[in-house]
Symmetry: C2
Subunit: 289 residues, 2 copies
């Protein structure tokens, strides 16, 4: 994909990392950043993540070959509405959002003919916030889920997949609906549960917390506003996942009376075994052990 101008809307950890990564792979590409905080834009310019910061989203996308939405997902609808009229014919728009149904629908609503939207979810990140934690290698060896619809331009899909591959990612395709269902289970529900595990601790217990507790709840340090957007946007799937977890825990409670000792061990062993298999299947770089 020949990108002469890349516009990154939202220059936090993810947007900044896209910019830094593109520096290594795109020659003669102008990178424009949009953000509502002047200091973040200045920091992004200083760090080399973007060439120029712009406080107006419509202005930021003028002339762009590729536009990447990197704000919290709750802002995507507004942004797409604002940038629609300023996009040039042939421009491609994608995003890094953790939910996909809503952004796909908003893009179909607001983007003009001749502009292609391809939903993306690069599954990389950190509980850290802001462009100062941006890293050129954030995406390397991680998975990017691309969510085209029946209407999505085939060439644009290939270009967006090529872009993420250029940044070192593996890509896979699925529908936005399937994405939200599966990622709800494996990412959004664990986030909610980690936050709940922190919330229920008495201070006296927290003082005894060890590595186990801190690993289990690491993701709970993620930005509250960002995760509010994600959980609300994927509320139906998150609700279903939490109900399933509550049901699983209710089954566990039944086994705690002692008569279910064997079932309890089998259940624990099965989870240990499943997790082992899944962790082994990951690429070494992503393996946390």
């Amino acid at each position: 994909m020949d990108v002469r101008q890349l516009s990154i809307l939202g220059v936090g950890l993810l947007g900044g990392s896209v910019g830094l990564a593109c520096r290594s792979f795109l020659n003669n590409c102008k990178i424009i950043g949009y953000g509502h905080r002047k200091e973040s834009l200045e920091e992004a310019v200083l760090s080399g993540a973007i060439d120029r910061g712009v406080a107006d989203a419509a202005e930021a996308v003028e002339g762009a070959d590729l536009v990447i939405l990197c704000t919290p997902v709750g802002r995507f609808g507004d942004l797409l509405r604002q940038i629609g009229p300023s996009l040039k014919k042939g421009a491609i728009v994608t995003d890094v959002g953790s939910t996909k149904r809503s952004v796909v629908a908003e893009a179909e609503k607001w983007l003009p003919q001749g502009v292609a939207f391809v939903g993306s979810h690069p599954m990389a990140g950190s509980e850290k916030r802001g462009v100062r934690f941006a890293r050129a290698d954030l995406f390397r060896d991680a998975l990017c889920i691309v969510t085209p619809t029946a209407k999505t331009d085939a060439e644009a899909i290939g270009k967006v997949e090529g872009f993420w591959k250029m940044l070192g990612m593996r890509t896979t395709r699925m529908s936005a609906e399937e994405h939200d269902r599966l990622v709800g289970m494996v990412s959004h529900v664990p986030h909610a549960v980690a936050a709940a595990l922190v919330a229920i601790q008495p201070q006296t217990a927290a003082a005894l917390a060890g590595k186990g507790f801190f690993d289990t709840t690491r993701i709970a340090e993620g930005d509250g506003g960002l995760w509010r957007d994600i959980l609300l946007d994927n509320a139906d799937n998150v609700r279903e996942g939490i109900l399933r977890l509550q049901g699983e825990l209710t089954e566990l409670l039944k086994r705690l009376d002692g008569s279910g000792a064997l079932e309890l061990q089998t259940w624990l062993d099965e989870s240990a075994h499943r997790r082992q298999l899944w962790a082994k299947r990951k690429l070494p770089e992503q393996d946390v052990d």
Copy 2:
């Protein structure tokens, strides 16, 4: 504490690590290991964790100044009954169990006059299993909870605390009841929840799992038999903690309809903030960030 003979009952990850650590700090101390698997005993001797392996617990403690129970907690009662008659006068018995009420009660029941029991819970470990993962520095900078009762010999408490400090640990005292309540919340409930988070995943979702999921569920790889014992032994506290978590998640579900967006963000921000504070308070070596 002058230890001429140390007997380690159970030479897995923890028992093996106690042996390796003692090598660095105790001169002229004979270390006897007990285990029911011959291969584990041989491996423990080869690794230097113990000097000699014995397949009979009563024989293993003969002449010991200090005895440390390092098997799964479900075996402690049997072991204490077996070793009682073989312990010499003045011997001190402690343990590394993750639950404390039951072992304290069993020790009072089975140990003879002239032998002191002091319950310990060194909060160090790993999801890894077996003496091959034992490390001399496993305990360094971690916290050891010591749970004396009103009847516990004061000198023995000091000696056991001194032993763990020698291995590099910080120590704190509390009752076995308080230990089980607090550690139930901050360790046993998170373990059960991590296992449940693995159990509810469809295979298709697991294929998309990233670092967040793997961190959140790391502890679920722990040995099923060992954790069965812990969860059953602390069933009342685990039950209460799980019910509290389910209640917290039910509150979260109410906020997912959109009308609770502000409460949702506040709740997420509060958990993020609490975890940050707790993580900062830890010693650097234990900080997982």
